[in-house]
Subunit: 366 residues, 4 copies
């Protein structure tokens, strides 16, 4: 299979460019009979909209999803669902200067080499964060499918931005408060600090990285196909497809490397007649298979590469060093807008694995 297609039974195909006609996705393999409207998708799409969060890029996009196929009388038919958002006319000229002067941290240079200079450079083309709109659309379908059939709840949020980490929050806080602030953080005090830090850095023409954490509740035991299609394998594969991701960890993650086995092992116990673990250092996955405990995954985002500060690069025509400034209004951090993207990507992988494990049937009846 080629690179713009993911999944085995719930398959997502991504297409579109930042400054082309549209950005979209096709889902093949969605079970028939799921109630689905454009509103279901629009609500998710609105969460990644730049205008929504004041700390994000103020570029006004009005992304209205359009479903082109696969829905009939308000339900999925079992046929491919093609969805897209049309791009508005945008001035691509500011990007022309980077064709020969690749922006540090961006894919300009590697894309040029890999695609022999034929890649669409307007607005970063296929490497733009805008491509994630397709992921969010597909993820909205996956989320609804998982919710309706298995009662699965997927919640991502800003855990850390610019070194400021959310510490005091409960599951209820995540549920009710994460979208109360512009950074999508369930800990309001931390959120305020994050916003302050973002504004400082923005003024300096710089940018901040951060960590998105995602918890999934209600997942049954048994998703994942070891060894190579382990649940953590496929989740990490999909998460690294999000631009700017540099690390993925489950449960205790990198911290597990510093624990003793006796600390890290999660003892089993019985609660309400069900086998559960007392702790959840595993993050809901053991041997590549979901344990029935909450899935906990953390995703590290690097600071956005587009910064106003002067940077050193090379001029590819003269093969000499030069300097550039990336003007325009850019996100000082991707974390808040990445929150719904992480949820979407997690949902896509879980929907695929739930179908593979026959936990979701090909037709939803009743």
């Amino acid at each position: 299979m080629t690179g713009n297609i993911i999944g085995e039974r719930f398959v997502v195909v991504s297409f579109g460019e930042s400054h082309g006609k549209c950005v979209g996705a096709v889902i093949d393999g969605c079970p028939a009979g799921l109630e689905l409207s454009e509103a279901d998708i629009q609500s998710e799409l609105d969460l990644r909209r730049p205008g929504v969060s004041r700390v994000a890029s103020p570029r006004a996009e009005e992304d209205r999803v359009e479903i082109l196929s696969g829905i009939f009388e308000g339900r999925t038919t079992g046929s491919p669902i093609c969805m897209l958002v049309w791009n508005r006319d945008i001035d691509s000229e500011p990007y022309r200067m980077f064709v020969n002067r690749p922006r540090p941290g961006h894919a300009d240079y590697v894309a040029r080499v890999k695609y022999g200079g034929f890649a669409d450079w307007r607005g970063s083309g296929r490497f733009s964060g805008r491509i994630t709109a397709g992921l969010v659309m597909a993820g909205a379908v996956a989320k609804k499918l998982l919710s309706k059939t298995l009662g699965v709840e997927i919640m991502a949020y800003a855990l850390e931005i610019g070194g400021i980490r959310a510490k005091n929050f409960t599951l209820d806080d995540i549920r009710s408060k994460r979208y109360n602030n512009e950074v999508r953080c369930p800990d309001e005090a931390a959120a305020n600090e994050m916003i302050k830090r973002i504004n400082e850095v923005k003024e300096q023409g710089d940018s901040l990285g951060g960590i998105v954490e995602c918890q999934v509740l209600g997942l049954p035991v048994g998703l994942g196909e070891p060894i190579f299609s382990a649940l953590d394998s496929d989740l990490s594969k999909a998460l690294f497809a999000i631009p700017a991701v540099k690390g993925v960890e489950f449960g205790a993650g990198f911290a597990a490397a510093r624990l003793l086995g006796s600390q890290n092992n999660d003892p089993y116990t019985i609660v309400d007649g069900k086998v559960v673990t007392v702790t959840n250092n595993a993050g809901g996955v053991l041997g590549g298979i979901s344990t029935g405990m909450p899935l906990v995954v953390r995703v590290a985002f690097k600071p956005p590469s587009s910064i106003a500060k002067k940077q050193t690069t090379v001029d590819l025509s003269s093969m000499k060093e030069t300097e550039i400034e990336v003007k325009g209004r850019h996100d000082p951090t991707v974390v808040p807008r990445a929150v719904p993207v992480v949820e979407a990507v997690v949902a896509i992988v879980l929907a695929d694995h739930a179908i593979r494990a026959a936990l979701i049937p090909p037709v939803l009846r009743g």
Copy 2:
């Protein structure tokens, strides 16, 4: 595709169980004309052997690779290469008691649920670390292929064990010293501390986690197929297939989340007429495509779940809490033995992507 198969053009199929007849792998898609002998594979396999490292489990295995197909007159033919190591007779009885009392941290419970009680529990069956022998065999072929065609060099080593981190080492140290000590660490002082710490913990009947770092030199620009088959996507997918992995990061990784854009962006410059970056926070991958700089990936391993200490679990027949001790001689840390496994897995993914990018041809001539 199903879970025991990975890759698109250099495909690896894993089979075998810990206490079954054998553990093996099939490679489909290896280019024709590569010189390959059992010795090429044996040398890699010997590195993951438990007996090699005194700090590892002393169970004496004599894993002799046997190539069953795909080689003719000392070269690959373009046909599937089936390779295996035969298992020796091993007493599986000690594992019987865990069938109803799942070991914390192991896949016992999830495997039982997923496979309806039919999974082979002897020696952890498919979830045993022994399965990685198949990965190492396939990886040996991938390494040789990458080395012969592109001059790619893949070097993994223990970066951290039990919180002790290697700090002072050069690329030359990695090359020449990592196999000089039992923990496969290029920093000898750190290695000594690690060994001391391992021995302490072993006496306490406990275990240690750690971090394996892998560097790949000589990789051209252009491997990786965004967005979903990004190079980091596919590498992380494969790395999470290794038992006990809980986190994967590239370049600055999770630390990038705390950097400013101006710190994290790698400026371009020209060295010897080639475009390179001054720093390598990207870890050799941007936009999902190899940059031509060294690939740097870190893999977090949890402490082995098999510990001598008493642990709490449940008895699945009575559905009551109970206690178990996992007797026998187990690895106090998987890190040293994981080093060749990480190299193998990285090699498998890179070989696949090099073929996909037409950087390695279907037939090696001359």
Copy 3:
């Protein structure tokens, strides 16, 4: 992978319904640098248009292809190419009566069972011949790619309609005359008979089957990946995806079953310093690999299931036998319109295999 996606390296995704918003396709994996315009695709699409051939259904569609992504400055970029034709408003009401009274020979009943009654039944939904517009669009790209890089020429034509078989024609006739008549037959005398027979049968409210033959010239030795991705395997798989196909054969095909080995074996000889075969009973494929001789494949099409004559079916609400007449104006035979579809499907598979065999590079330079 799921059912609406085909290929490994040149991948085609089909979407859309007969009476939905549109019918389209996404290509992922098309090499970068191929000159491509909507006109390139439109010319192929026009050939399958119903209005073009008087013997075909007179329903006036004006299918204008719209390319949504993957093209920049007149060339492919290496990114997914999404293309579609918008559907015009069509009255779907006539199809409602078949929801409970499945039409013999159509997929109405199986679709209802498989998709639990959720399938889009308007105009046969996903089972309409209109879906082949997506194949033709994707095939147009594949044809141009094969032609530009390898000089491959793909020509299909009506070999037989209603038992009348074309007999007297040369390769030049195929090239120059097949589109001179409404049935796309290179033998004009046979074409006239076919047309006469079609008109007779049409008046009787009946329909005719036929055979499309496709020849491919200029194919190098070496396409095909035995054993399962043999060239004939993948071609037949794709050809059976065309509605109404009931048989596929290569070279001597079913007639080979009645030949002696000494008759059927194609002796090798040297022509112009090249190894060729004197005869071509193999039809250009041996052991699943292209031989360098012309590829010859024949595809049997059943007579269209939509006929004006009264037919017996069952009423699924009462579970009793009933009768239906399928009104409207339908194609009395699909053969003429299937000609460009067969070419397209063959091109898609050949492009995929040419890339797999590294005969077409990922970037077309110069």
Copy 4:
């Protein structure tokens, strides 16, 4: 995916060479809990053994299947099932002369070009009919799975050999008589004629083609994933992987091309409260989906290419025409031995599609 792997959820990997160490297959995705022994596989394997049928090649092979993995306590575990038969020492020298003088009708020449001269030529290597032993082993598992879970019955038989066609036989004849004669034909009179014809042709040093028909009973409605993974698409793909196959047709097949729609359409009716068709020209598949009627597929086999008669070929070192005789004792027709192979291949595809359609669960309980 690469060429030696087929299927999506019930995946078969083929490996081994004619004169290498072994021929085998790995199944990944077989549901857990299926009772399975070597005897189940051996009985199928014995049917394709050359010694069994006097009209076939008398080369005495004693193919004993060995299961290397995936079975525990007499049942499948859900893990990969690796199976093989070891090759006996065979003299490969007679094949050396064809390295530079490719045998007409064989893959010698295309393999040489495709694999750059590195292909294993001993006994035709990967292109030998012996490779089908792996298919039969995998098919035996698929057949048992289909039989146990869905009661599916798969029966292939010689329909035609050397132009002599079986005409008078019932379903009961197929069940009880097809293995009563050496040609596996349910019509005894035809069988006798076929045997006579085979013996004639054998004496002349020539060979015969034929047609294998396969019927599948008990298949539910709903297998198949249009448009590209249509049931007929995937069956034909797999059938063309069998050496010597030149055509595949379903139901009326090529004859449908000569029928009127009113003749070819299968009217629906109700029998025992079930929707069935009066006729079965569709051969059990409509729109790429199984109809619940018997699946009927016919496979055309060319006459074996190895004939004793003198043949013209070229000497690749001198690039001049030359003559060869293919000595040794070869099958005068592959049809009888192909019968169990066709059953196996059909079973593999149906098992895959039954799992995909969730008609067979991942775990067989009770």
